[in-house]
């Protein structure tokens, strides 16, 4: 995680909603093979920043750069095409569809030959096989690959959502509060999963309120305050108390 050029970068992003300035010149960068946590109080601009990076909203000013080239995401689809996958807090999966269908939702595989091109026949077996392989590789256990997602536990569901992002991401995985609704055991599974994704060489962006998790997991921590990046710290250079002080503005950070 030393040096290296940023995979995804944002420079002086401004985003206003009516009179409210959600982002006021916020910057951001994440490198391949690292976990970058983004923390901040409510209203500090965390979620707006993530929306800009994942294409869910477009900034009023500023620049997003992907591998040092300026990009403009008009929709989540644009960001996905650029290799950025996002796991949203509530809207990750379609509950009535099964695990395999969810993993391939919007990117279904078709049979080879005429059956696929003319009859549009889905390659269900191929998708199930591939889904099972992906889950096994990430150590995610589900009762059945054909079980509706709503029959899974919260942790299993989160596992499927994260696996989907990891399976398709080529550059960056963004996780919005991935452990918010989970129990202790399930949480530790998801944390281990996030490390495995980093170890695949992807850049992981973690938005979380949970300081102990952030300090356990992150390589670098970006502290947001009043719509800007207030500081970048690491779990080695700063304590949790320092980070909270930076969030509250009680401690001045070296802003980048």
């Amino acid at each position: 995680m030393s040096g290296g050029a940023p995979v995804l970068e944002a420079r002086r992003i401004v985003k206003r909603y009516g009179h409210v300035t959600a982002l006021d010149g916020a910057s951001f960068d994440v490198r391949a093979g690292e976990i970058l946590a983004v923390i901040g109080d409510n209203g500090a601009g965390k979620s707006t920043l993530i929306k800009v990076l994942s294409g869910a909203t477009t900034p009023d000013a500023g620049e997003v750069r992907l591998e040092d080239r300026p990009v403009r995401f008009r929709s989540p689809l644009d960001a996905r095409r650029a290799g950025i996958e996002t796991v949203y807090q509530d809207l990750a999966l379609a509950p009535a569809l099964d695990v395999s269908s969810n993993l391939f939702l919007g990117r279904e595989l078709r049979r080879a030959g005429l059956a696929g091109s003319l009859l549009r026949l889905l390659d269900k077996r191929g998708m199930r096989r591939e889904a099972a392989r992906q889950l096994a590789e990430l150590g995610i256990e589900v009762p059945s690959i054909t079980a509706p997602v709503e029959n899974l536990s919260g942790g299993q569901r989160q596992g499927v959502a994260v696996a989907r992002a990891a399976a398709w991401a080529r550059r960056v995985v963004i996780l919005d509060e991935p452990t918010a609704a989970l129990g202790v055991r399930e949480t530790s599974h998801v944390l281990a999963l996030i490390r495995r994704i980093r170890d695949r060489g992807l850049a992981v962006v973690l938005i979380s309120h949970d300081m102990p998790h952030v300090f356990e997991l992150a390589d670098r921590i970006q502290v947001m305050r009043l719509g800007r990046r207030a500081a970048i710290v690491t779990p080695r250079s700063h304590t949790m108390a320092d980070a909270v002080a930076l969030m509250m503005g009680a401690l001045a950070g070296a802003s980048a």
């Binding site: 996905r80 996002t86 509530d90 990750a92 009859l119 889905l122």
Partner: protein
Amino acid sequence: MALLLAVSFFAAKSDRFLVADNGSLILQQVMVVGVLAVGQTLVILTAGIDLSNGASMALGQIVMTKLATQGGASPLVALAMGVLTCAAFGLLNGTLVTRIRMPPFIVTLGTLNIAFALTHIYSNDESFAGLPDALTFLGRTFTVGPTELTYGVVAMLVVFGVTWYALTQTAWGRHVYAVGDSPGAARLSGIHTDRVLLSVYSLAGFVYGVAAILLVARTEVGDPNAGLTDNLDSITAVVLGGTSLFGGRGSVLGTLLGALIVGVFRNGLTLIGVDAIYQTLTTGVLVILAVSVDQLTQSRQR
């Protein structure tokens, strides 16, 4: 299950029930509503509802029969114009639902009235009889074992089969389920939810056009008062078939069973001499039972 129970009940009560000719008759009777219910299933799977399907079919049927008898159009053109009319109404429904974001209930309540009025204006409240053979072709029969089936029944089964294939074996079908199940997750998965909805309403409209052809073939007349309660009957069939009004759950094969259950009840009650009004009563009770089951299983899962 319910279907088997009903069949065995009526078989025990009437010796005219369980004969092949009666089976063929039931299929005849459910043919039109069955095909309407296919379009209704598509719409309900997306968590919508279509109140306009019966009226749209009635308009399509009048367009076909008037053009063929008084308009001097060739039968094929007349049929095509009728189907196009229905598809256009579907497209209109879909456009209003996706562009203006109106609730499907309100949109189709509006188009129900529009189609109903246009039917009466265009027909001058007249019926159109003396149809050319090509229009009633699907009403002809062929022999299967001990009984005869109409080509219309075959057409109905084909509509069910093709829709089943599209819903279960193609990516489009999965997207239909996903849009009804969780529109937000579908959108974030890169599915163009509005395009899916538009295709569903348009396709449903096209299917109502097919229903109009079957109606003409069965009645051999263009009747401006046809199909008045068929919208509700189609919803009944869909709901009895186990498709959830909340969207995202259900199947078109269930709808076929649902339509058959209604058909079997109507037919069976007639054979054992129950008055028509009590048949309607029974259907009402059936629907409420089916929806209660849906509600209860939903709330247990939430």
